[in-house]
């Protein structure tokens, strides 16, 4: 019995070397942010529609103009996200506020382009499909999440295997 428990603790330490509390608490806040907006407006807000709705300010393409009714509040939502993270950086963890990523710029840029295409073609991102869609028990979102999760794992493992670090 004690051996089983010790094995379980060791397994947890192996799977979660940095603990789980900040992940779980952070996740609850992410869900709470969505919930606050939903209760007031019935809108399940995702993060990636902002990319297209914001392009409607400068482009007359029909694909972007369809998001015109929501583009203003999506800007406000995104500004809120940026400032909310800034509040975290200056209050909870000032020392963490000083880091910048070591992931190479071309990975961010090329990855960003693929994310821009993929989230919009695929009807959602980690918040739209992953949080709102899964929370809605939507079969399209389960398929979407499973797809991008498995492909991302394969890609990240491949990138690491060919020696691209960081």
């Amino acid at each position: 019995m004690t051996e089983t428990l010790a094995l379980f603790v060791a397994l947890l330490a192996e799977l979660f070397p940095n603990g789980i509390s900040h992940y779980a608490i952070g996740g609850l806040f992410v869900g709470l942010g969505v919930a606050v907006i939903y209760v007031g407006t019935a809108i399940p807000a995702g993060a990636s529609t902002f990319l297209e709705s914001t392009l409607s300010y400068g482009s007359s393409l029909s694909r972007f103009q369809q998001y015109r009714p929501s583009r203003d509040w999506r800007v406000v939502f995104t500004v809120g996200i940026v400032l909310g993270a800034a509040v975290y950086a200056v209050t909870v963890s000032p020392q963490d506020g000083l880091w910048t990523t070591d992931v190479q710029w071309w990975r961010l840029l090329v990855g960003g382009i693929l994310i821009g295409i993929g989230t919009r073609v695929g009807k959602g991102c980690t918040s739209g499909h992953g949080v709102c869609g899964v929370g809605s028990v939507s079969s399209a979102s389960f398929v979407g999440v499973a797809t991008f999760l498995f492909v991302a794992i394969g890609t990240a493992q491949l990138v690491q295997a060919v020696g691209v670090v960081p």
């Binding site: 995702g46 929370g135 809605s136 399209a140």
Partner: protein, 155 residues
């Protein structure tokens, strides 16, 4: 086609507060740091599962629970519904393209906005990339829609 926020004076303040909480959570969960997301995808730290499913449980309870108390939202009058999208080929194709981008960079849209707020300025490469990608697919799909239905006006 009026803007959605014109419906109630508290609409935009509420969206802003929701965004603040959302962004705070992304910072707190370390998802704004690409290295942490990559450590999940490379199987050295599975904490991301707690973030995504923890958040989904909260939204799930809210989406299903709020309907027990009222049928329409106070600020919009809209009926409470679930986030349902039609399941077609695009979900898999787009999800696959997004997956390659996510796995290559360790960033996703919401976490990238949050990362900017933390002061991680190199994330701008990723955010600029996302706008370029969104534009590419929008341009392609808009022109394709026009060539197949030339007389249909945009909505």
């Amino acid at each position: 086609m009026s803007a959605e926020h014109e419906q109630h004076p508290l609409f935009l303040p509420l969206v802003f507060v929701g965004g603040l909480i959302f962004g705070f959570g992304l910072g707190f969960s370390h998802m704004a740091q690409p290295e942490v997301v990559l450590s999940f995808l490379q199987f050295t730290d599975f904490g991301l599962l707690f973030v995504m499913f923890g958040a989904a449980i909260v939204t799930g309870i809210t989406f299903f629970g709020v309907k027990q108390f009222r049928s329409t939202a106070p600020l919009t009058g809209a009926v409470y519904g679930r986030r349902l999208k039609s399941l077609d080929r695009n979900v898999v194709i787009g999800g696959g393209i997004f997956g390659v981008g996510w796995g290559l960079s360790g960033i996703c849209p919401g976490a990238a906005y949050a990362s900017l707020g933390i002061g991680n300025f190199p994330i701008l490469y990723g955010i600029v990339g996302m706008f370029i990608g969104a534009y590419i697919q929008g341009f392609w799909r808009s022109t394709r829609a026009e060539s197949t239905a030339p007389t249909t006006a945009a909505d």
